[in-house]
């Protein structure tokens, strides 16, 4: 950085000596633009956080990084050549220096053939880039055939991520953490991370439950849109452990900014342990939900508040006031204080044509708790208690 700056000042001061006093504009342009080039080359030689892409975490990502660096270097070189010619011309071919225009320049042999020479040169540069890009593309684009590939289904929701490990049945729901808890990592931290192992090929299957989203973690490099009703795929093999952060990249409505993605890459052994833990947790939750136990209102309310605040509050708000008109309030709403059956139905099946999605993937206990909470919180005070058995019946 320091070197570049001294270079700049040297060059501009040397041009100062030759510049006639009257016109100093080219000098100003040149020093300004040299500064820009200086900054550019800083970004080329250093891959520091905050200026260039972060260090890739897998082979595919590394290849993508390399092709990025290649095109950037080629572009910078071309830019310097163009700037050099323009500034040479700006400096020497000026009327104030008494330069007479060469009226026959375009009729010289060069003028006659430039339309062939220039495209051939540009084509050469293009082929350099396209050739390399093409081979990288083949590798990145096509998911390799591999029996041991780990399939992770990535589903975008307004505004959270759902990760399903298709082989083990583990499901991770990942939501942003409010600023009070997340601190400096606000908008880059989630409640449940996507945990992935190193050393094995991983295939992401992208889809969406509502509108377009896009899964983007710069260290993993592969980005794909999540399209409702369709599945797109990407793959990567990770070779570095660590925590990598990204965000939803495709505009998905109001809280597009609140869809962080955090990937925790661990060793295969650690991943196996984690998988077992998750399976055990899931079994325990299912067992708890399926017992015919009758829950007390307080238990359901406590559970319901926790679930509501993570799953429902993004739209309907913790206050139950919603964000009308897109997201209606629940406080005093016809659904929340009306018939129980209709309330359960909209929660399980969602509402067509609105952002309200079906929540049928949650278990009976969770749904019962949420409905109970919504019917009693914020002065709704219906006194209704919905049991898991009621949900089971309604399904």
């Amino acid at each position: 950085m320091i070197n570049h700056h001294t270079d700049n000042s040297k060059q501009s001061s040397s041009s100062l000596l030759h510049t006639p006093a009257r016109v100093n504009l080219p000098r100003i342009i040149s020093s300004l633009l040299l500064l820009v080039i200086g900054l550019m080359s800083v970004s080329v030689v250093q891959a520091e956080y905050g200026i260039n892409f972060p260090q890739p975490a897998g082979e595919v990502a590394q290849e993508i990084y390399d092709i990025h660096m290649l095109t950037m270097r080629v572009s910078t070189a071309l830019l310097i050549i163009v700037f050099a010619f323009v500034f040479y011309s700006l400096y020497f071919h000026r009327k104030s220096r008494g330069y007479k225009a060469d009226q026959h320049f375009h009729k010289s042999w060069f003028g006659q053939w430039a339309w062939v020479i220039v495209p051939v040169l540009v084509l050469g540069v293009d082929m350099t880039i396209a050739g390399k890009a093409n081979s990288v593309l083949k590798k990145v684009w096509e998911v390799p055939d591999d029996e041991n590939i780990l399939d992770v289904k990535v589903t975008g929701h307004q505004w959270w991520w759902e990760f399903d490990y298709l082989d083990s049945g583990i499901k991770v729901e990942s939501r942003y953490i409010p600023e009070e808890k997340a601190g400096d990592l606000y908008l880059r931290e989630v409640d449940n991370r996507l945990v992935l192992p190193t050393g094995i090929k991983i295939r992401f299957l992208h889809t969406s439950a509502d509108v377009l989203h896009a899964f983007w973690v710069p260290e993993l490099a592969v980005k794909k849109d999540a399209i409702p009703g369709y599945i797109t795929e990407t793959w990567i093999e990770l070779d570095r452990e660590g925590v990598f952060r990204g965000q939803c990249a495709e505009l998905c409505g109001t809280w597009h900014s609140r869809m962080p993605i955090v990937v925790e890459v661990v060793s295969p052994q650690r991943f196996a342990v984690w998988s077992e833990e998750q399976k055990a947790l899931k079994l325990a939750a299912a067992a708890e939900a399926s017992t015919d136990k009758v829950w007390s209102k307080d238990e359901l309310m406590a559970k319901g508040k926790e679930l509501y605040d993570t799953k429902c509050a993004a739209c309907h708000q913790t206050t139950g006031l919603g964000l009308p008109p897109a997201f209606p309030p629940l406080k005093g709403s016809a659904i929340a204080i009306g018939p129980i059956a209709a309330h359960i139905d909209i929660v399980i099946n969602g509402k067509q044509g609105t952002p309200m999605v079906a929540w049928s993937s949650m278990n009976d206990l969770e749904l019962a708790a949420i409905v109970t909470y919504e019917r009693n919180a914020w002065d709704n005070n219906t006194g209704d208690v919905v049991q898991p058995a009621d949900i089971k019946q309604a399904r």
């Binding site: 993508i64 225009a101 093409n134 794909k224 990249a249 109001t254 900014s257």
Partner: protein
């Protein structure tokens, strides 16, 4: 009505009619050109204001000024207003003013169509503004939070303001197709005897190609948004997977329009540049023929590479390879254009009045934007860049110098011709420097933001992105406010100043400089002879 016609017919012999009738009923290419330019100027300030609000919100992490939907509505409006309200009408204004004068015609070929195509614009702008205003009223539905790309299913979720916007887009489309038809007819039928196509001034050539592009792509956008309207209200499912449609179809329709649209914005400015650079280099344009060829090549290839805006939708390997190679190949004709400009300056006898400063700025910064475009064309790398701030930086580096600075250059270049007064050269230069420096401070850091992982179109960001956002926002304030100076310079030049000669610039060539400054009400009543 008859009496009006009578007075107007008389007026045509003597000079401009007076009062509001002169403007509302105008069939005069210069008056309509002026209307277009004033409309564009107004819209530029509206679009600029929304951009400044966006940057103010992004000045610090956290949500300070706006709410998320309002923020994204401003993002949407900024794009639509700048593209359809500012750049295209400004380019059409230049075309209206200059084309008849450049080809030795008395007026446009279809003067009444000309009147219609302008007066649709204020109506369209009103609809566009209504789409913004309506959500503030009870029952007005939600803000348009989709961005200018209007991708479904998000755009199906939006309330009635989206219908206003769709209607506005239809009107804007009709207006630009009508204007294009008029320009093509004028250029093909009204040229002075002896002016063959290959003797036509470059600005006319660029507009001929632009007009054809518009006729080819604008109806497709109209079709796309109509399908969207049907999906929203009439139960069709063109873009709904649940009904057998596909959301991605809309993206194809949109970008089939959207990518050639980039060249629609760009080419008129390339035309302006092809006059400004030779004038101030005192030397003819280098490679007129190759310039025409390059432009035709850009337009042709530009029509068939639209899907490079959608690399992440999961196309087949064959499809992305095709779109990648096609996109990279565009660098050949564009490179040739830039080369021709540099070769025109080369061994010229240059002076640096404001139009030339802008021209040099374009050559340098547009090259920069074009090169980051080549980076974006590379599919594997684009998987990183896509929808990040890097893209925002890239297309502003292409469109600000490529389109807007070209229009500024044109305005400064022809202002003496239009008003009969020289503008204030010192202020013009100050405007250039504040504008260009503000622009670079605004958009250069956004490359870094994108590479570090900041997506586009987010209202709130993590603290790690703070520094560059602060710099960018400060630059945006300088950049935005500098346009007030442009307004002042233009008003000052209209009101008075040093008298401009017919040939206002020493090195200027072309028929428009044979007419007086300001030119007579009917440009060329007797067609000039072209050798």
């Amino acid at each position: 009505m008859t009496t009006t016609t009578m007075t107007h017919d008389e007026a045509h012999h003597h000079g401009a009619p007076t009062g509001w009738r002169r403007w509302l009923f105008s069939t005069n290419h210069k008056d309509i050109g002026t209307l277009y330019l004033l409309f564009a100027l107004t819209m530029m300030f509206l679009g600029g204001a929304s951009a400044m609000l966006i940057r103010m919100e992004l000045f610090q992490p956290g949500i300070q000024l706006l709410d998320p939907d309002l923020y994204n509505n401003l993002v949407t409006n900024h794009a639509l207003i700048m593209i359809f309200g500012a750049v295209m009408p400004a380019a059409a204004g230049l075309a209206n003013w200059m084309i008849p004068m450049m080809i030795g015609a008395p007026d446009m070929a279809l003067p009444r169509l000309n009147n219609l195509s302008f007066w649709i614009l204020p109506a369209a702008a009103t609809m566009l503004l209504l789409s913004f205003v309506v959500p503030f009223f009870p029952g007005g539905g939600t803000q348009i939070n989709t961005g200018w790309t209007l991708y479904p299913p998000l755009s199906v979720q939006v309330g009635m303001s989206m219908d206003f916007l769709i209607f506005a887009i239809h009107l804007l489309g009709i207006s630009s197709v009508l204007a294009s038809i008029n320009i093509i007819v004028t250029l093909l039928n009204m040229r002075a005897p002896g002016m063959t196509l290959m003797k036509m001034p470059m600005f006319c050539w660029t507009w001929l190609v632009t007009a054809f592009l518009l006729i080819l792509v604008v109806p497709v956008l109209a079709g796309g948004v109509t399908m969207l309207l049907f999906d929203r209200h009439f139960g069709t499912s063109f873009f709904d997977a649940a009904g057998g449609g596909d959301p991605v179809l809309f993206q194809h329709l949109f970008w089939f329009f959207g990518h050639p649209e980039v060249y629609v914005l760009l080419l008129p400015s390339i035309g302006v540049l092809s006059h400004v650079i030779p004038t101030f280099s005192r030397k003819p344009l280098f490679g007129y023929n190759s310039m025409v060829g390059a432009m035709l090549a850009v337009a042709t290839i530009g029509m068939v590479v639209w899907a490079h805006h959608q690399y992440t939708i999961g196309m087949s390997l064959g499809a992305v390879t095709y779109f990648m190679i096609g996109t990279i190949l565009i660098s050949i004709p564009v490179g040739l254009m830039i080369f021709n400009f540099i070769a025109t300056m080369w061994r010229g006898s240059m002076t640096f009045e404001t139009p030339m400063l802008f021209a040099v700025g374009i050559v340098l910064m547009f090259t920069f934007g074009g090169l980051s475009g080549v980076m974006l064309a590379v599919v594997p790398a684009d998987m990183q860049y896509h929808d990040s701030m890097f893209v925002v930086a890239h297309f502003h580096y292409v469109l600000m110098p490529g389109a807007v600075f070209g229009l500024f250059a044109g305005v400064f270049y022809w202002l003496p011709k239009w008003t009969g007064h020289m503008y204030d050269e010192r202020l013009g230069k100050i405007f250039f420097w504040t504008n260009v420096i503000g622009f670079n401070i605004t958009f250069f850091p956004q490359h870094f933001l994108g590479l570090a992982g900041m997506p586009r179109r987010i209202i709130d960001y993590n603290v790690m992105f703070t520094e560059f956002n602060v710099v960018s926002s400060i630059g945006a304030m300088i950049f935005g406010l500098s346009h007030l100076l442009l307004l002042y310079i233009v008003i000052k030049a209209i009101r008075g100043g040093k008298k401009a000669r017919s040939r206002s610039w020493e090195g200027a060539t072309g028929l428009e400089w044979e007419l007086s400054s300001p030119p007579p009400f009917h440009s060329w009543t007797v067609a000039p002879k072209i050798k």
